[in-house]
């Protein structure tokens, strides 16, 4: 299968090599032969959907931008890439940076944009340096700047270095960060195409999305629409990590069977072990069990059908010996750390879920904790300003549902602890409990109360059912 982005051409990151291999031809064609609307039509025809996680149709997104030049308009290229398990945009910066630059220039032209900002996570120091150099080379060659190729069209491109905040990958947070503010997501509507960065119409696209554009212009939208799954056409840069023999980024058509990816491309599971769980699209996507994985196709619709999603196509493979509870605890710790704190359900919910997972890991969990986790997750989902809340809730809700036995195995069977129960009752009656100033001590008593309550409930159930 021919690759669209990660082509097997050495030194393709050098502008001369890129040009010798047909690079910037699409840009020249667009400038000399195509009207902005024709570019948008071609992208619509291709069926290209965003590669940043939400799979939104790219041509449609571009068509939301207002026509005319009443206000400045902006394109933000999203290279924040901080979703655990995702490392594909980095591969584009390294292997084919100019194709991304060319794609964003074409996008800018199609929407009448004169300033392009490339937001790259601060940790990508090496790749930021590469991109600075590439952009400067493209300026020197006259592909960016005033009156590009004598077309009368002018465009500028700037790189903005992030500083370590996962949330800045969320598009409205990215815009606030670019403006020099804290990266707080904004309430939508208004959508960025109406009120974006500096209050002006803005489009945000992922790096991989934009890197597809030059070939769509060169070979036509129809050609692209026939690659892979018809409802989610093109290739994806699958980033496979975890327990496989050859982890890495593999560019393959959408719809490829997950097992083909793992066995034929990644050399199978390490040490010949069995699969226990696979996260198909970055840590926020609901996990797949081994049974679901066996017949899974890797495209937006197939994963949606089992309640998961393709996300960033970051595939994390976990073998039979993996401690699933530990994995979920680590994922939840991440979202707790990265929550910006604006919305109560996300801020408090992430902390609460982490606290409960911590105690299950410690061996002090309760049976009621599993339903509690699902209930907290469901109360976050859909009740927040941005989708980080959902991203934190989904893995919890679905991992607990699909791997409940793993969690139960860590919860020690409750035994009636009468002295403790009496102590709690005694404390409740006296004012002593109210005056315990030490939080740790208070927490212990509360834990005991919870246990006693649960035991009593269990006793009630037994009594009624016998």
């Amino acid at each position: 299968m021919e690759k669209i982005i990660l082509k097997d051409i050495p030194d393709l990151d050098k502008i001369s090599v890129y040009e010798n291999n047909g690079g910037y031809a699409a840009w020249k064609k667009v400038l000399s032969q195509m009207k902005p609307d024709e570019v948008i039509e071609e992208v619509k025809k291709s069926g290209l959907r965003g590669r940043g996680g939400a799979c939104f149709p790219t041509g449609l997104k571009w068509s939301f931008m207002p026509k005319g030049n009443d206000k400045p308009k902006y394109l933000c290229c999203n290279g924040d890439e901080s979703e655990p398990g995702s490392f594909k945009d980095r591969e584009i910066f390294e292997k084919n940076p100019h194709q991304f630059i060319e794609g964003s220039l074409i996008a800018a032209y199609a929407m009448g944009i004169k300033a392009v900002y490339v937001y790259i996570r601060g940790e990508y120091w090496k790749w930021i340096n590469i991109m600075e150099e590439c952009v400067s080379d493209a300026y020197k060659k006259g592909f960016i700047g005033e009156n590009v190729q004598g077309s009368g069209y002018s465009v500028d491109m700037y790189i903005h270095k992030g500083a370590g905040a996962y949330i800045c990958g969320e598009e409205s947070s990215l815009m606030n960060s670019l403006e020099g503010k804290r990266g707080y997501p904004r309430v939508k509507p208004p959508f960025p195409a109406a009120v974006g960065v500096w209050g002006n119409p803005t489009t945000i696209n992922n790096i991989e999305t934009l890197a597809n554009i030059p070939e769509i212009i060169n070979k036509g939208g129809e050609w692209f629409s026939k690659i892979g799954d018809p409802k989610h056409p093109g290739t994806l840069l699958f980033g496979v990590s975890g327990h496989v023999n050859k982890p890495g980024v593999y560019e393959l058509p959408t719809g490829i069977p997950l097992m083909t990816l793992i066995n034929d491309y990644c050399g199978g599971v390490k040490n010949g072990k069995d699969i226990k769980m696979i996260i198909p699209g970055g840590s926020s996507m609901p996990p797949l069990t081994k049974e679901e994985s066996l017949n899974m196709k890797m495209d937006a619709e197939s994963l949606k059908a089992v309640g998961s999603a393709i996300g960033t196509a970051g595939v994390m493979v976990m073998d039979e010996d993996t401690d699933i509870v530990h994995v979920l605890q680590r994922i939840t710790k991440f979202y707790y750390h990265e929550s910006c704190g604006q919305c109560t359900p996300c801020r408090e919910g992430c902390g609460w879920m982490l606290k409960v997972l911590n105690r299950i890991m410690d061996g002090t969990g309760r049976h009621s904790d599993l339903d509690l986790l699902i209930s907290v997750a469901e109360n976050i989902e859909g009740n927040t300003i941005c989708a980080l809340g959902d991203a934190a809730a989904w893995p919890v809700k679905w991992t607990v549902r699909k791997f409940r036995k793993e969690f139960e195995a860590k919860i020690k069977e409750d035994k009636a602890d009468l002295p403790a129960a009496n102590k709690v009752h005694g404390l409740r009656k006296s004012d002593e409990y109210m005056t315990i100033s030490d939080h740790a001590e208070q927490g212990k008593v509360e834990d005991l109360m919870g246990k006693v309550q649960e035991l009593t409930q269990n006793e009630d159930i037994k009594r009624f059912s016998s």
Binding site: P84, G122, H160, K161, A163, G180, V327
Partner: protein
């Protein structure tokens, strides 16, 4: 260790850089992140005085700069060791031994998360996914070079090299 305290000031060339950063955006508030990066490059960390200095350069309220500096985890608000080791323990790294690497370094240097060795050479920090999951486990040094596919022997070598490069 980086200087405990310093008087933040940009020289003539750096002031040109400041102007360059301002020119990239339609509003100069946007230059606050690049300027904080410049401060950190020069002094190793960002003091409250430095935040005030950046605020004055951009005519921004000091508390705005403080708000930005404290929001982002890569801006160091305290001095770090000469070599600040940022060890990823997120899922893909964890599956491949990220915690083993973290604890090994922590034990070897005798410091815990976010602490500095007494000679000021090293500090360590447990960090989130750095986009290096296929080459796990990994660490980053001083927000710059990645060291990937680590084994404990390589960690030993790396620490020795850093110590001797002094």
């Amino acid at each position: 260790m980086n200087k405990e305290n310093y008087i933040p000031v940009f020289d003539e060339n750096e002031m040109k850089m400041v102007e360059h950063h301002k020119s990239k955006y339609p509003a100069q508030m946007a230059a606050v992140m690049p300027l904080l990066w410049m401060i950190q490059e020069k002094y190793g960390w960002i003091s409250v005085d430095a935040m005030r200095y950046v605020g004055d350069l951009l005519k921004l309220p000091h508390d705005h700069v403080l708000g930005v500096a404290t929001f982002y985890s890569m801006y160091f608000k305290k001095p770090t060791g000469k070599y600040h080791l940022q060890i990823c323990t997120n899922v893909s790294c964890m599956l491949c031994g990220g915690y083993e690497v973290f604890h090994y370094i922590s034990d070897k240097l005798g410091i815990k998360n976010k602490e500095i060795t007494s000679d000021g050479m090293f500090s360590i920090e447990e960090v989130e996914c750095l986009g290096s999951c296929a080459t796990a486990p990994m660490l980053q040094i001083n927000n710059k070079e990645f060291h990937e596919k680590l084994t404990l022997e390589e960690v030993d070598k790396l620490l020795n090299n850093l110590r001797n490069s002094n």
